[in-house]
């Protein structure tokens, strides 16, 4: 059941939107590995290739060079084993909460036998009353809970989170951080989250990957060694936060 994710010297470049055969290098020579039971955060300035890394792990895009592998199998395309939650707009607005959560079963033609499981997940996120509502009737926090449930119902080995809480207000955000941690520790899987919020990274992660831009490279990997539930005002917490902030603002490589 152990899961090991390895990125081996991964680079990705895109055709420049301005044409003329120019290439934009999104990430270069990124290597790291992590395994189940870890909660990894990726932080770095805008445009340093964080989303690109998640999308390569998900199998939505292929690296230009290097390999992404899970348990020694090279990732070649998307799979339910690597679920992903996006910042916004990932729910299908024309499907109800229950239909969104059951989407993967519908696609595999096994909607009927999994109806009870869908109900269970609707209950898990506390949205029984909204099971038949459309996403437009939900608050931002509720929508992200549905997006999480829709992904977790597939029992993914790896949970990819691309700024999942960025669109939420501060209070909802903090309670959602705990909810995500509960779901993650319950499943014991590997979670990889992109965030812009350093506090969030320190609060949630077992390991923080710092990136630097132009082109996107891994700058440092900082293990966070504080037991959960963490206190945001403890000395250790503040020390980690300052270390990451310094790492982000420093120019040296």
């Amino acid at each position: 059941m152990a899961t090991e994710l390895v990125l081996n010297d991964v680079s990705k470049s895109f055709d420049s939107p301005h044409g003329k055969g120019d290439r934009i290098s999104a990430v270069e020579n990124v290597s790291f590995s992590c395994h189940d039971g870890e909660f990894v955060s990726i932080v770095g300035r805008s445009g340093c290739g964080k989303s690109t890394i998640l999308r390569m792990i998900a199998g939505l895009v292929n690296p230009t060079a290097g390999l992404v592998s899970v348990d020694s199998q090279v990732v070649k395309g998307p799979s339910k084993e690597r679920g992903m939650v996006f910042q916004e707009y990932s729910l299908f607005p024309y499907l109800t909460v229950a239909q969104n959560i059951g989407f993967s079963f519908k696609m595999s033609g096994r909607a009927r036998e999994n109806k009870a499981k869908v109900d269970e997940y609707v209950r898990k996120i506390g949205l029984e009353k909204f099971a038949n509502s459309y996403p437009s009737a939900l608050s931002g926090g509720m929508r992200q809970r549905v997006a999480l449930a829709r992904t977790l119902i597939c029992n993914p080995k790896i949970l990819l989170l691309d700024e999942p809480l960025s669109a939420l207000d501060a209070i909802t955000r903090m309670s959602m951080q705990d909810e995500i941690l509960d779901m993650w520790s319950g499943s014991g899987s590997l979670a990889i989250m992109v965030t812009h919020d350093v506090d969030e990274a320190v609060y949630m992660s077992t390991k923080v990957i710092l990136m630097r831009p132009n082109p996107g490279r891994v700058k440092r990997i900082i293990p966070i060694d504080i037991p959960y539930r963490r206190r945001r005002d403890s000395d250790a917490f503040v020390a980690y936060r300052n270390e990451i902030l310094n790492g982000l603002s420093g120019n040296g490589s």
């Binding site: 998307p78 799979s79 339910k80 996006f86 707009y89 990932s90 459309y134 009737a137 829709r150 597939c154």
Partner: protein
């Protein structure tokens, strides 16, 4: 609340005017106009009473009805005025502008032909519309997906855009095997143009997150088209369906007037040629009712299929 009774007042006014003032012309079957007036007010009252008695859900309907009551009243006032200007004083000259009972009489006299024409128009409209809409959605989806199809289709849409479909009617009369299929082609062309364009825009604007989520959740390419791309594009597609319907109605009437020897458009031309102006009015009123019904149905469909757009 009192305003809900206004239409009764209008009804009384129209009836009294109709029966008390002397006619300047011979008015056959005078009771028919009165029956129509009465049918209107009976339907209105039944609706009002029914919604009033059904409290909770009915109350909203009742409020809407009483909000619109002055408009219903105005219809009766308009009919009364029109009757004064035509039948009672002859200010508006017969036979170019007949009075209402005369229009009703000619409708009753010619109802089989009228029904035939209405059904013909409705059939031509619906067949063309469905053909054009399906072709439009297909074109829009394929063009939205494939860059090379888009490369070829875009100039076609751009060049066709400013040309009214009716321009091609005479040509289609010459080239098509039957007048019906020729008209279907031209009417469908306008629908196709509108729906292709709006579908293309919708497909191009499908959120990347939706496509990515669907792929991760195990959707096949075909499932992505039918379960993600098309439903996500529905708001845009419906815009094209609405403007396509407008285009179809315009083209339909023109096609019937200049070539197809059937349908309500033809009926108007035919009545005009024989100087049976009252029948012309009948056809015009029928077109008003028919097109409003068709558009009302489309609106209801839109509301149903886009019910997810604003809360629930």
């Amino acid at each position: 609340m009192i305003r809900v009774f206004l239409p009764l007042l209008g009804y009384a006014l129209a009836s009294i005017e109709y029966f008390l003032l002397p006619n300047v012309r011979e008015n056959a079957f005078p009771e028919r106009y009165f029956i129509v007036l009465t049918a209107g007010i009976v339907a209105y009252s039944a609706f009002a009473l029914f919604s009033f008695l059904r409290k909770d859900k009915g109350l909203r309907l009742f409020n809407r009805l009483s909000y619109r009551a002055p408009i219903f009243c105005a219809v009766y006032v308009f009919l009364a005025l029109f009757d004064v200007l035509t039948l009672k004083t002859g200010r508006l000259t017969y036979p170019f502008i007949p009075w209402f009972n005369d229009i009703i009489n000619s409708a009753v006299a010619d109802w089989p032909m009228l029904l035939k024409s209405t059904l013909f128009s409705l059939r031509l409209l619906l067949v063309s519309y469905v053909v054009g809409a399906l072709a439009g959605v297909a074109t829009g989806v394929v063009a939205g997906y494939s860059k090379s199809v888009r490369y070829w289709i875009e100039p076609v849409l751009n060049v066709l855009g400013p040309i009214p479909p009716a321009t091609w009617i005479p040509l289609s009369m010459i080239l098509a095997k039957t007048l019906f299929s020729g008209s279907v082609f031209i009417i469908a062309l306008g629908v196709w143009y509108n729906v292709s364009l709006s579908t293309l825009i919708g497909v191009m604007n499908v959120k990347k997150e939706h496509l990515d989520s669907a792929r991760i959740l195990g959707a096949s390419e075909l499932q992505i088209v039918f379960r993600v791309v098309i439903p996500s594009s529905l708001p845009s597609i419906f815009q094209g369906l609405s403007s396509g319907m407008t285009s179809a109605c315009i083209t339909l009437i023109i096609a019937e007037m200049i070539g197809v020897e059937a349908g309500l458009g033809w009926y108007i031309e035919w009545a005009k040629a024989w100087a049976m102006f009252n029948r012309m009015y009948v056809a015009i009123i029928t077109i008003c009712v028919l097109f409003n019904l068709v558009n009302f149905t489309l609106k209801k469909c839109k509301k149903h299929f886009l019910r997810w757009e604003n809360g629930n």
